[in-house]
């Protein structure tokens, strides 16, 4: 399944957030959206997943999601969004319970995703017992449990300390190499963008519009070993963003 975003625009009251966004999300690729703070990149992600309704334009699903996909468009949130009163297994089970899979099948799926995210030992732990990195692993496990066609990731690593950030980034790359999932990945971190993106979409400051789409052709498995080329891409992105970021910095938050 692919996504096609067609002339999408969004207002909050009189405030224009996004203007005329056109974007394709091809299957098996990670599209990264970057932009200065307040440019509407998280809003764009909410519009893509149907958590908000766009003022103009639309988001189209191209092709059917796989038969076994329980929740084709699945989010991973910056703040993890785990229920503190449920254990790790319980949090994953939450996403499955409404689908009437039966106890045995549910337990099987939970065990499977816990194994894939190396969380088996934390099955019965509560979120307050886990570190930030572990919490995000649980959120990733929960997302994998519903077999998404497209993952929508809203700054998934931004709330983590830099060491954990690195570890989890390696995990995400490894996960993509193994499963070739499709994703829209919102971040403000350029190093993250060039590390995991096949396509990096640079948004301007508010009202956000697509400034440029940068393709990063290098295979993901070799990127870490070739930091020089990565830095070049990163520098290019930064050149695109610098003036916008500076101008956005000077704006009042409430417009």
């Amino acid at each position: 399944m692919e996504l096609s975003i067609q002339s999408l625009g969004h207002h909050y009251g009189d405030l224009e957030i996004l203007r005329d966004i056109n974007l394709d999300v091809p299957a098996g690729q990670i599209v990264v959206i970057i932009g200065p703070s307040g440019c509407g990149k998280s809003t764009l992600l909410r519009l893509i997943g149907g958590l908000e309704q766009p003022t103009t334009g639309r988001v189209m699903q191209v092709g059917e999601p796989p038969e076994d996909s329980l929740n084709p468009l699945t989010y991973i949130f910056q703040d993890f969004a785990l229920l503190p009163w449920r254990s790790v297994a319980g949090n994953i089970s939450l996403a499955l319970e409404d689908h009437g899979l039966g106890k045995a099948k549910t337990a099987l799926i939970i065990d499977n995703v816990l194994a894939r995210t190396k969380l088996m030992d934390f099955r019965d732990a509560f979120p307050h017992q886990l570190s930030g990195g572990m919490k995000q692993r649980v959120a990733i496990a929960r997302a994998l449990a519903v077999r998404p066609a497209v993952l929508l990731m809203d700054e998934p690593l931004s709330a983590l300390d830099s060491q954990t950030h690195e570890l989890l980034m390696d995990d995400l790359v490894e996960l993509w190499l193994r499963e070739k999932f499709t994703a829209v990945y919102v971040t403000h971190n350029l190093a993250e963008a060039v590390r995991i993106g096949h396509k990096v979409v640079v948004l301007s400051r508010r009202p956000g519009l697509v400034r440029e789409v940068v393709d990063i052709d290098m295979a993901m498995e070799v990127r870490k070993a070739r930091p020089g080329l990565m830095v070049e891409h990163q520098q290019h992105l930064w050149n695109l963003m610098r003036d916008e970021a500076r101008a956005a910095e000077l704006e009042l938050v409430d417009g």
């Binding site: 989010y75 949130f77 703040d79 969004a81 229920l83 319970e97 409404d98 307050h128 519903v146």
Partner: protein
């Protein structure tokens, strides 16, 4: 390193405090000390027998209550009113509080009404309750019900309002049904606030119990206290009041247990 001529001293400690620690035994010790002082005052005559009976006298009155078999009669009558009144008031309060938290119509319509009726002392409405529900159990239970309903409503919708909106959004993003979101996300998220609301409403219920038993109650702890008061039997009065206090302690303990069990996920 510091040269010998410069003064060397440790950095002054400025942290600490602002964090009360549990000192389990202190409460009972203070309790015992107050009673012992009171007893001592009565024995030595510092506290006149007419002003306040000694704790030992109140204990004798209590023992009489037990041996005559009246204790259970009074207690069961009161507990029955308390349990029926409080649980129905709390149940309705949670339902209405949830509706206010979830629906714009309920919020716009009911919040002003709740704010208007909450501060009215329910005791003042007792004559009306008697007209509406009769002089029997109805008026007494209704008084307690109304008294517990309003604090529960306010605690519940406050709890729903304080819930992390992102958790609801997460539920929606996984395609959970409306009912699942309410049952699995909103209700457990509001539970801490609801339980602390229960603490308040249970105390209100005990206060109102005595008021409700002022009218036409043959049995009940409140009736016992009022009878003792009108006969100037201060020893019985103190025994009855101590009984109310014990009921309050028991209820508070039960709610603590419920919190410990239901909120064990909190750090």
């Amino acid at each position: 390193m510091a040269e010998p001529s410069k003064p060397v001293r440790p950095v002054r400690f400025r942290g600490g405090g602002f964090k009360p620690k549990p000192l389990g035994i202190l409460g009972p010790i203070i309790f015992a000390a107050v009673i012992a002082l009171w007893e001592l005052g009565s024995r030595t005559g510092v506290i006149g027998a007419l002003i306040l009976p000694a704790p030992s006298e109140a204990w004798v009155a209590f023992e009489e209550l037990v041996s005559s078999g009246m204790l259970w009669k009074h207690l069961s009558a009161s507990l029955q009113r308390l349990v029926i009144g409080w649980s129905s008031g709390a149940f309705l309060g949670v339902i209405v509080g949830l509706s206010i938290g979830l629906f714009s119509f309920a919020r716009a319509g009911l919040v002003p009404l709740v704010s208007a009726i909450f501060p009215i002392p329910k005791i003042a409405l007792l004559p009306l309750f008697i007209i509406w529900f009769g002089i029997g159990e109805g008026a007494k239970v209704a008084t307690i019900l109304f008294g517990t309903f309003f604090p529960t409503v306010i605690a519940t919708y406050g709890g729903v309002d304080n819930l992390d909106r992102n958790l609801v959004r997460m539920g929606q993003s996984f395609g959970l049904s409306w009912f699942s979101i309410v049952r699995k996300i909103i209700l457990p998220g509001a539970l801490p606030a609801i339980l602390s609301g229960f603490r308040i409403s249970a105390a209100v219920a005990i206060i109102l119990l005595v008021a409700a038993e002022m009218i036409g109650a043959e049995f009940g702890v409140g009736a016992y206290i009022l009878m003792a008061g009108s006969l100037m039997a201060t020893d019985q009065l103190v025994a009855g009041v101590a009984l109310l206090s014990c009921m309050g302690l028991t209820v508070a303990w039960l709610i603590s247990r419920a919190e410990k069990f239901l909120l064990r996920w909190r750090s």
